[in-house]
């Protein structure tokens, strides 16, 4: 019987990689998750604790996938603390995926927003000329720089890191780097995932210059399947219509970059 993506599958964590003091990658075997499209996510059950939406991280081993989680509140800390040999439940993949252009591409990621970007890198053509911008608060929090370089070995590419405090790479917000890049280069596609304000500015920078841009949004998610409504942003449901939206569409959304909803569904400012 084919697996119904809405039914929870239990997998065992096989490897835990510390990316930074607060970010870990948990690797597990699952054919379906190893083949998701860039931008797709899973609902991840940490038994007895919570269930969270997580982008599906790549693994270098075939048939495997991973989650890269930053410890934050109780739920993500629960996932962060899962040990090798422990079980978690997964359902999905959910959501649409990035529409990958060819030519000069700009990928912008912050924190765990880099996860879908890494998977996107596994889909580029060898002829594509790729620039990856990685934003972080400080040196400690930089990860996936080496991975990005490794994945792009056979491509013309640049991987540039910026830190807010300048402790590593260029100093300043990654969105300033974005602005600089789109000013100089006519990209064929810009892709962004990270904090909403980073995505908002990146979309503005690219879209206002007529450059094709897509962002993968995050919202509170309960069901992941378009029932509960908790992930709405304007009239869009992130889990079902997204998570990936075009700049064109986002520029007309009243809530993107301005509001999100909390667990009770109350609009809060970013």
């Amino acid at each position: 019987m084919q697996r119904n993506h809405n039914h929870t599958t239990i997998v065992t964590v096989e490897k835990v990689i510390d990316e930074t003091p607060t970010v870990r990658t948990l690797v597990f075997s699952d054919e379906v998750m190893s083949n998701v499209l860039p931008g797709q996510f899973a609902m991840v059950w940490i038994p007895g604790i919570n269930e969270l939406p997580m982008s599906v991280m790549i693994s270098d081993e075939s048939g495997k996938a991973a989650f890269t989680v930053r410890k934050h509140g109780a739920a993500s800390t629960g996932l962060f603390n899962v040990k090798v040999g422990e079980q978690i439940g997964i359902r999905g993949p959910y959501g649409n995926s990035f529409d990958l252009k060819e030519g000069k591409l700009l990928l912008v990621g912050g924190g765990t927003g880099l996860v879908p970007m890494m998977r996107l890198l596994t889909h580029v053509k060898p002829t594509d000329d790729i620039t990856v911008l990685i934003g972080a608060k400080s040196k400690d929090e930089v990860f996936f720089e080496d991975l990005a370089n490794r994945l792009l070995e056979n491509n013309p590419h640049k991987v540039i890191v910026s830190t807010d405090d300048g402790s590593y790479g260029e100093k300043g917000f990654v969105t300033d780097l974005v602005e600089k890049h789109v000013d100089q280069i006519k990209f064929d596609g810009v892709y962004v995932c990270g904090p909403e304000i980073m995505m908002y500015k990146t979309v503005q920078s690219a879209h206002s210059r007529g450059i094709f841009v897509q962002a993968s949004l995050e919202r509170m998610m309960k069901c992941g399947v378009g029932i509960c409504g908790s992930c709405c942003v304007g009239e869009d449901l992130v889990c079902k219509d997204g998570t990936v939206f075009d700049g064109q569409h986002l520029s007309q959304n009243k809530e993107f970059g301005k509001f999100h909803r909390n667990k009770a569904g109350i609009l809060e400012n970013y």
């Binding site: 079980q87 439940g89 029932i227 409504g229 569904g265 609009l267």
Partner: protein, 303 residues
């Protein structure tokens, strides 16, 4: 005469007979407009309480192998006041405001907060099966139902619907009490108390352990409730539970419902389901030579 999808549920007039059920995608006015444009005849809001509620932690929803969903979102909602502010600009979308509370005063207070809103009807949730002190725990207490319905009817001229479900008190008694207290219509049914256990980790999956079963599994149960209510009482009924095709909707009309609500079908077929059902109903009406939904209501009771 061309068939027409308009229907009336007692004092409530709708252009189309299939509504969005409470709790489904039900927290944003923008989403409501989109659903209305997609063919919903009305939208029912998430059940609102006097204070904002975060609801239960995840997992709050579970997809059942045999079909359907079990949910225990725990009535998370932004609270009636916030919600009223959000829908104030609305003019076009027929919005039915669903309310939960433990005492008559809760409902009275919330209805005041909607004074400046265009509200098509209120739906009193007397039937949520997984939150303490509200929902079914209210619906199962006939005295309380009486007080709440009476109070609400005295607080507003907007039509009031009671939503019932399978609880520890027989739902037909709850319906009877609500009717005696002046209710305008009945929605039947809510989700059915259920559970799922993961055999690997050996624990209940939902954080609340128990949740409510919705979707295709409960359709035969819901249909029987509508038929039983319409056989026993003379009250407009909104059928709800597992409706996902036009045939399902027509079955409910034939059993005595004058309109229907759906929720879970959206999780399976997304929001196109409204127009698919509308189209199917229209074709059925053409074939049977009906010009109005009304002509088919309750026909299955005649045989």
């Amino acid at each position: 005469m061309e068939p027409n999808l308009a229907t009336s549920i007692g004092p409530i007039q709708l252009d189309r007979p299939v509504m969005l059920a409470s709790g489904i995608l039900g927290i944003s006015l923008d989403v409501f407009s989109r659903l209305y444009r997609s063919g919903a005849g009305a939208v029912v809001t998430k059940s609102l309480s006097t204070e904002p509620w975060e609801g239960y932690p995840n997992p709050t929803i579970f997809s059942v192998k045999g079909g359907g969903w079990i949910n225990a979102v725990g009535l998370s909602n932004p609270g009636a006041e916030n919600f009223a502010k959000m829908i104030e600009p609305n003019q076009d979308v027929p919005i039915i405001v669903s309310l939960v509370g433990s005492i008559p005063e809760d409902f009275e207070k919330m209805i005041k907060q909607f004074e400046n809103c265009k509200v098509t009807a209120y739906e009193l949730n007397l039937s949520c099966p997984h939150v303490a002190k509200v929902g079914l725990e209210v619906g199962d207490d006939p005295e309380l139902v009486k007080k709440i319905v009476t109070t609400v009817k005295n607080s507003t001229n907007v039509p009031v619907i009671a939503k019932v479900g399978l609880g520890t008190t027989h739902y037909l008694n709850t319906v009877g009490t609500a009717i005696e207290s002046g209710i305008d219509a009945i929605t039947a049914i809510n989700t059915v108390r259920s559970m799922a256990i993961d055999v690997e980790t050996q624990r209940p999956i939902l954080s609340n352990k128990f949740g409510g079963l919705s979707g295709t599994p409960i359709k035969p149960i819901a249909l029987r409730c509508v038929y039983e209510i319409s056989s026993k009482y003379d009250i407009p009924i909104i059928g709800c539970g597992g409706i996902s095709t036009w045939e399902d909707a027509v079955e409910f009309f034939l059993a005595g419902a004058s309109s229907v609500q759906l929720g879970s079908a959206i999780g399976d077929n997304w929001i196109d389901v409204f127009n698919e059902i509308n189209t199917g109903i229209l074709q059925y009406m053409e074939k049977k030579n009906y010009s109005k939904i009304e002509e088919m209501i309750g026909l299955a009771k005649k045989s």
